[in-house]
Amino acid sequence: MVLKVFFPSCCSSADSGILIGRWISEQNSAVILAVVHFPFIPVQVKQYLGEVQRGTKVSVSVLGSWSNSKQEKEESLSEFLEDLGTIFCHEPWIQISKEGDSKFWSCSILQKHSKNPQEEEIILVYYDQRKVMLSHLHPPLDTAGQRAEDASKLSAIFDTVARSQVLFMTDRYDEGPIKLTHWQSDGVEASIIVELLKQASVPACMLLTFLLSLLSGICRSRVLKFWPLSFLWSKLSTCEQLGHRLQHLQVISSNKKAQNQNQLMRKANIFVSLLIDVALGILLMSWLYRKNRIGHLADTLIPVADHVAEELQDLLQWLMGAPAGLKMNRALDQVLGRFFLYHIHLWISYIHLLSPFIEMILWYVGLSACLGLTVALCILSDIIALLTFHIYCFYVYGARLYCLKIYGLSSLWRLFRGKKWNVLRQRVDSCSYDLDQLFIGTLLFTILLFLLPTTALYYLVFTLLRLLVVIVQGLIHLLVDLIDSLPLYSLILRLCRSYRLAAGVKFRVLEQQDGKPLRLLMQINPLSYGGVVQTYRLPTYSCYPRDSWASLCKKLFLGELIYPWKHKGDKQN
């Protein structure tokens, strides 16, 4: 069997001593965590290891000896090291020795109770202790169904190093009986800024939680639950987005520490996303309020609404004539056209009524852009929805009319053929009609059939307009979702500290020498950017699209009202 020794590259130049680490017998591999230097008292070493074991739940033990001799190999030292093997009895006892500055070390194993005395091949794998400790493995498969023994070998090694953080807390300036060499032995790293932030975050979180509880209390109060207001809140996408952000703030400001890596990353992602959102919103706000752009926007809003109304009027005049050379039924055409024209006239008067207040409303609404770019985009989407409300109304009228016509036609067609829809059995049955029923039915059928082109044309035109508005709103919502769900902190981490997010490892074969063990360098293979986005995506409140293309076309054909963008809270129909 091959014996694998994972040696930290920081200990390559350490003085002679004994090796401590973890022995993983299932994989026949030894993970070296540190080197304990002479002089030491074996009892104290065992005591220290016992403490470490209790603290970290990692079975740390003395694995072997390490000798780094600057001059020629000393015979007495090697005997001394072999004797150490009897004091710290560990099976197998690994002896690594380095001569001078040579890169090629000699490794040997002492097995006292071995059943098969054959020569074992040794593989020496160097690893960067700090990077492996901080790294987090992302297994491609879901490990929900795996047993502990099936867990990958690499995750056992990463786990061992990550959990032994206590061992790395003592450096060489500590006055203790044990002198260790590991990655932090030259001085424990700490950052004042990080410590200050940690201290400051506790009262900040408490304040934020208090404010949020006040806010959610107000939101949940009975006053806002009355019917017109609650209907309004559910229709405006701004309120949904604000609610979503409120939830995010609650997640960040909770006092519980994150249990595992996923929760920590999620909190960090939400925090960075909020920060960037608010920063972009404030940038937008400063751009809008400079040079009185809001005033200009308000000034152009009314003419734009007028222009849209005029275009619609032209469109209706065109439909009332002979659109695209088609011949319409004059009477129905005039009725529908005049009805819609009057509607537009009402709408324009409404807008003109509001015109003196538009600038002030826009000014105050623009202030809410400081809550975030996503909120500003949602407000834009809501303004578009309000300004094109008449198009929505026309679409509903046209659709309902067309829908009635289609249902009437289909039912009368069945009558024409002598069949009837059985509501009880939900199927078409044959039925014998009286003569007068047949006569009136056929008459009505003919009337509806010949009026169909007119209604169908109005329906088609207004559906296309409505779809245009829906597509524009949908694009804005897509952008909002993108900003909401992008895990910015994880992406920045992957860019700057790519070893923290590991998809696996990669090995590089170092220079070899005959007779010496195989030397490999283990490096961290970082997760790809696509993998990062997929793993750490933040959940959003909407999902698209609700209908497949086939059912969308069917609904359009039958004249049913379509709402292509579904929100998670909506009931499925």
Binding site: S25, E26, I123, F507, L518
Partner: protein
């Protein structure tokens, strides 16, 4: 110990197989394809620039020329960094695993390491590729639930597509190391 032999790929392009034995249980097999030729690069660049000059002569807008230069540069960078694979190598370390590396012309290396516990076997398979039937080497991954089943097939040397004679050499080298894990005494 290293040796290098020349073979042909499935499309007739000359490739080179280099074998290195680092130790008794560690072997590295690298297949190197032909490098980017200067004449094909100049041919592509000249074609793009001639087309740009033609357009410029038609519409008298100098933006066309700068756009052509820009497109050529960006296209070349994308091609070298994401498309052109120079060398594909397989590092088999008995008792650790198999590492598959692809080295791109710009120096980028993309690596995947598969642990030995997940590897069921390395086999040569046949596949229908466009209008040809080609042989390819692949690693079969073990299904954790079903000991007889295969959960995934990882094809190797996809960009250089060596022919059967080269694949047989690689197959023999891999199997020598994989056999060691069967003959080695299993730890309880």
């Amino acid at each position: 110990m290293a040796d290098e032999r020349r073979f042909l790929s499935a499309s007739g392009v000359p490739i080179a197989l280099r074998r290195r034995q680092h130790s008794a249980s560690c072997r590295e097999l690298a297949v190197r394809g032909p490098r980017l030729q200067l004449r094909s690069l100049s041919a592509a660049t000249s074609a793009v620039w001639l087309a740009a000059y033609g357009l410029f002569a038609l519409c008298e807008n100098s933006m066309v020329l700068s756009a052509a230069i820009f497109i050529t540069l960006i296209g070349l960078i994308i091609y070298l960094h994401f498309v052109k694979i120079d060398q594909e190598s397989l590092l088999v370390i008995g008792s650790l695993g198999i590492q598959v590396t692809s080295a791109y012309a710009s120096g980028k290396e993309s690596t995947t390491f598969i642990e030995m516990g997940q590897v069921k076997d390395v086999v040569i398979n046949e596949a229908i590729h466009m209008q040809k039937v080609i042989y390819y080497l692949c690693i079969l991954l073990q299904d954790p639930e079903d000991p007889q089943g295969v959960s995934e097939v990882v094809p190797l040397f996809q960009s250089s597509k060596p022919r059967l004679d080269c694949l047989i050499e690689v197959y023999k080298s891999c199997q020598e190391i994989l056999e060691q894990r069967k003959t080695a005494p299993q730890s309880s």
